[in-house]
């Protein structure tokens, strides 16, 4: 049972939130220009890392805001919480997507 720090409401119980999966997957601006595999990559392919992971959460039963969380998928330790559109913390240590 995670304790998640909503950037607005502060630390709240996991049951108030909903996880929206991997963060920083930007919808292609021109989907029609993508090949089927490229579109499939956007739609379905996920890095699903073991270790630090950036993901989107929404404070569903609270302020209703979406935000990003950096969380270790093994220890569940949350190392950062940052607002949507905000820069990820410490980009050099960026986990996640390899293209």
């Amino acid at each position: 049972m995670l304790l998640i720090e909503c950037p607005w409401c502060g630390p709240r119980e996991e049951s108030e939130f909903h996880c929206g999966g991997e963060a920083h997957i930007v919808r292609p601006l021109h989907p029609e220009q993508l090949s089927d595999p490229e579109w499939a990559d956007y739609l379905f392919m996920r890095s699903n890392p073991k270790g630090p992971h950036r993901e989107r959460w929404v404070h569903e039963a609270g302020c209703g805001r979406w935000f990003n969380v950096e969380r270790d998928t093994v220890t569940h330790e949350i190392t950062a919480v940052y607002r949507m559109g905000g820069p990820p913390p410490n980009p050099s240590a960026a986990p996640g997507r390899k293209r």
Partner: protein, 415 residues
């Protein structure tokens, strides 16, 4: 040594000191024809069928921990083949048929107990979906029937079928050939069978890299050194994405915790398997007497093999609603596995962008029932470098073409 009541009796005189190891624990060789990564049921079955059916015996199964310690060792063991789409139905039915002969084939009692699997319907929508499913399954030649509340009550008297409860039971589908099996025995039986046919079963050896040249696989790096291989089959369930990353591609997979729990052992009281997707709980009673109970997945990626408590709370609420007499029984232990969920809730048994590298994953919450069938088709795929007709639809490129096999449908969780 063949297992039987006679060998047991013979060994009793020797205080059971004469039993050989069920499988060797060999040092890894430098190279194999085929390396199977992942010593769960699926990996071991693949190795077994490679050796038993395709004459490929120079095979190693590489397991980072202990055999069957992944989802094979932590699942609720429900076996059934009542799947909606033709592709799935045929694959799971093939598996169920293999299961039906497995104890004898392996000379290892896997305790397949075909006590019947019921899926409850609680509203009109459920009923409609249930009827669709049962009709499809029956026309696919698989046993399946619809039960009325009265028939359900007769079969499961302890189930609350009164009409005025929050989630009344309006009907159920029943697959009589469905049931449960002893999960550990499936892994151990395949390991013993594969070992006897020359397969090296190697535990405590983690694959840490996949070497390739010119787009083809060459071998695997492991915590115990490099191992060359002409072909590599990866069957690591929750860790599929990790291995795919080693090979340089991504999968449409997310790893989520799936929890299960057992009650204290009690005298037999529940003789079938009851599942309810609407309220998210399912329960059977094991031969040891404990109730084995499962639910839905936790909502976030995790490799921790433990889940969140609210899932257990919901599950218990649903359980005591369905079975009021269970309220005073006690939860003995709860745990989780890491399930490899796929967007269409169907597996991937496929060639990959890397030549001679094959992946078998995406079984998510429901692959135990497929263990022999999955190994069987995967062995075929590896041996022929081409899928068998039974797994031809379960390729990786269905995500590009859009030809998904959506098994979410009525079953929110396809155990």
């Amino acid at each position: 040594m063949r297992y039987s009541i006679f060998s047991l009796a013979r060994n009793a005189f020797g205080h059971h000191e004469g039993w050989p190891a069920a499988w060797r624990s060999p040092e890894p060789k430098q190279s194999y024809d085929v390396v199977i990564v992942g010593g769960g049921g699926h990996g071991l079955a693949t190795a077994y069928y490679l050796a038993a059916l395709h004459g490929i015996r120079d095979v190693a199964v590489i397991e980072k921990g202990w055999l069957g310690g992944g989802n094979t060792g932590r699942n609720t063991t429900i076996i059934r083949s009542n799947y909606l789409w033709d592709e799935s139905a045929h694959l799971y039915e093939h598996s169920l048929k293999l299961y039906e002969g497995l104890s004898r084939e392996l000379n290892f009692n896997i305790m397949l107990s075909q006590r019947g699997v019921l899926n409850l319907a609680h509203n009109l929508h459920d009923l409609r979906e249930l009827s669709r499913r049962v009709n499809a399954i029956r026309l696919n030649g698989i046993d399946s029937e619809v039960l009325t509340p009265v028939q359900i009550k007769a079969m499961v008297p302890i189930l609350d079928t009164s009409p005025d409860v929050r989630y009344p039971v309006l009907g159920a589908s029943l697959q009589r050939r469905g049931g449960v099996a002893r999960h550990d025995a499936v892994a151990w039986g395949f390991a013993r069978g594969a070992d006897a046919r020359g397969v090296d079963v190697i535990q405590n050896c983690e694959v840490t890299g996949i070497r390739q040249r010119n787009g083809a696989v060459e071998g695997v790096e492991t915590s115990r050194g490099y191992i060359r291989a002409r072909k590599v089959g990866v069957v690591v369930a929750g860790h599929a994405s990790v291995l795919a990353a080693m090979a340089g591609f991504r999968l449409p997979i997310e790893s989520h915790p799936l929890q299960a729990l057992v009650s204290e052992p009690i005298k037999p009281i529940h003789h079938s398997v009851v599942m309810s997707n609407a309220v998210h709980v399912y329960v059977s009673q094991s031969d040891k007497g404990e109730l084995v109970i499962g639910a839905g997945i936790d909502g976030y990626d995790s490799y921790a093999q433990r889940g969140s408590f609210p899932v257990i709370e919901d599950q218990m609420g649903a359980l005591v609603e369905l079975f009021p007499i269970f309220s005073r029984l006690k939860m003995l232990r709860h745990w989780a596995g890491i399930v490899d969920t796929c967007p269409d809730a169907s597996p991937i048994i496929s060639k990959t962008p890397v030549k001679h590298l094959y992946f078998n994953c995406g079984w998510g919450t429901g692959g135990f029932k497929a263990t022999p069938g999955s190994g069987w088709v995967f062995a075929h795929t590896i041996a022929h470098d081409a899928p068998h007709a039974l797994n031809a639809a379960f390729t990786l490129d269905r995500f590009s073409t859009g030809a998904l096999i959506d098994e979410h449908g009525a079953a929110a969780v396809a155990h």
